[in-house]
C-alpha cells in the first residue's frame, strides 16, 4: 500500500493502508489526538484498494479489503474514502473481536459509572452521546460498547462520532470547527460529518466503567419513560450484538449478568433538551 496510518482506539489497534493519499490524510487529521498502537497490540488490517487497476485513476472506486470483508459490499467512490475506511475499521471489530462482548451502542460515563444507549439506527443514540460529551460526560463510544465477560466492566472504544444530516448542525452549534472532519455529501447514509471526541475522553480510552443503566432512546416522540423487563432487554441486546453467537457460553453469561444487574429504561424524547434531561434524571436516580 502506498499510504498508511496506525492508530489505537481503546483496546483495538488498526493499520489502514490505501492506494490513495487523500483518505489517509483525512484519517490522520481525524485521529491526530489518538496514540499509535502500543507494543504487543494486535492490529486489525484495513486496505482501501481500487476495484480494478484502472479505477485507481479513472472514476476512482474503492473496494475494502482486510481480515474481514463483506463480499457483497458495493464499491464506494473515492470522494467518501474516509467513510470507506471507517466502515472497514468497524467491520474488523464487529466480526473479529473475540475478547469482549460487543453491543451496538453508545456509552457515556461519569465517576467510573457508565450509561449504555442502545437502539436502532436513527434512535438518536450517537447524537445524544455526543451532546452528553459537551455537557461534561466522558464519551466512551457511539458504535460499540465493549463488555468484558470476566469483570462485567465496559471498555471505551471512543471512535469519532459519525454525525448524520441534522445532527451536524446540532453539534456544529456547540463545538468549534476544529473538532469536525470534512462534510461528505450524498453518502449511502445521507450527509455525514465526523466529530472528534474531546481530548479527555480519548486520553481515558483505557479506563473501564461499570454499567449502571441501559437506555433505549427514541428520538422524535413525546417525553416518556418506561422501565423494561429483563427478558425483552436480553433479546434486544442479543440482536444488538455482533459477536454474541461467536462468544458462545461466555457471551451468554456476560449478557445475562449485564441484564440482571443493570436496570433498563426506554426513553422517548422530542428534542435534544428533553433527551439530556432524561439522561440526567436517570443519573440522579442511579448514579
Amino acid at each position: 500500500m502506498n499510504h498508511s496510518h496506525h492508530v489505537q482506539v481503546g483496546p483495538v489497534g488498526f493499520r489502514i493502508g490505501s492506494a490513495w493519499a487523500e483518505p489517509i490524510r483525512q484519517l490522520k487529521a481525524l485521529y491526530a489526538d489518538y496514540p499509535s498502537p502500543a507494543e504487543g497490540i494486535t492490529e486489525h488490517l484495513v486496505r482501501l484498494e481500487p476495484t480494478s487497476p484502472m479505477r485507481r485513476w479513472v472514476k476512482p472506486s474503492i473496494a475494502i479489503a482486510g481480515g474481514y470483508t463483506l463480499p457483497e459490499a458495493a464499491p464506494l467512490p473515492l470522494s467518501i474514502g474516509l467513510i470507506a475506511a471507517e466502515m472497514a475499521m468497524n467491520l474488523q471489530v464487529a466480526l473479529g473481536e473475540r475478547h469482549y462482548l460487543l453491543l451496538h451502542a453508545a456509552t457515556v460515563a461519569r465517576d467510573g459509572k457508565a450509561i449504555i444507549l442502545t437502539g436502532e439506527s436513527g434512535s438518536g443514540k450517537s447524537t445524544l452521546s455526543a451532546l452528553l460529551m459537551t455537557e461534561g460526560w466522558r464519551f466512551m463510544g457511539d458504535e460499540f460498547a465493549l463488555l468484558d465477560p470476566e469483570t462485567g466492566l465496559l471498555h471505551p472504544f471512543p471512535r469519532p462520532v459519525s454525525l448524520k444530516n441534522q445532527a451536524m448542525a446540532v453539534m456544529g452549534a456547540r463545538l468549534p470547527e476544529s473538532r469536525f472532519g470534512p462534510v461528505m455529501k450524498d453518502t449511502p447514509k445521507g450527509d455525514i460529518r465526523h466529530l472528534i471526541p474531546d481530548v479527555a475522553s480519548i486520553k481515558a480510552m483505557h479506563e473501564p466503567a461499570r454499567p449502571i443503566a441501559i437506555l433505549f432512546p427514541s428520538f422524535g416522540e413525546e417525553m416518556a419513560v418506561r422501565p423494561m423487563g429483563q427478558g425483552e432487554v436480553f433479546v434486544r441486546l442479543t440482536q444488538a450484538s455482533t459477536n454474541y453467537t461467536a462468544l458462545g457460553e461466555r457471551g451468554f453469561h456476560a449478557l445475562a449478568g449485564l441484564v440482571k444487574s443493570t436496570p433498563a429504561i426506554a426513553i422517548d424524547y422530542p428534542d435534544t433538551a428533553g433527551g439530556l434531561s432524561l439522561v440526567e434524571q436517570v443519573w440522579a436516580e442511579r448514579g
Binding site: 427478558g231 433479546v235 442479543t238 457460553e249 440482571k260
Partner: protein, 89 residues
C-alpha cells in the same frame, strides 16, 4: 392411542438464568440461546433426559389428561422439538 415419547437434554448441558418472568436458556450442545416463557421451563424440567410419554409427562406435571390439556402439551413439545430442545425417541 398414539402416545409419543420425548426426551430433554441432560441438565448439565443447559444453563438457565431467570429474567423477570422469563427464562434464558443456553444449550451447550447446539450453542443456541432460547428465551422461554411459562410453562416451557417446567416442561423441560419435568421431562429430563430419560424419555417420557405424553401420558407420563402429564402425570408428572400434575395436569389432567383431557381433550384440552393433552393437545396443548403436545403442541408445546412439538415447538420444543422444532427448536432442538426436545427430541422424540
Amino acid at each position: 392411542m398414539d402416545d409419543p415419547r420425548f426426551a430433554a437434554p441432560a441438565p448439565d448441558t443447559l444453563i438457565s438464568v431467570q429474567l423477570d418472568g422469563l427464562v434464558a436458556l443456553y444449550d451447550r450442545a447446539s450453542a443456541m440461546t432460547h428465551v422461554l416463557a411459562e410453562p416451557v421451563p417446567e416442561i423441560l424440567e419435568a421431562l429430563g433426559p430419560s424419555a417420557l410419554t405424553a401420558t407420563q409427562l402429564l402425570a408428572g406435571l400434575d395436569l389432567p389428561d383431557d381433550a384440552d390439556t393433552r393437545p396443548a402439551l403436545l403442541a408445546r413439545l412439538e415447538e420444543l422439538e422444532s427448536s432442538g430442545l426436545v427430541r422424540r425417541v
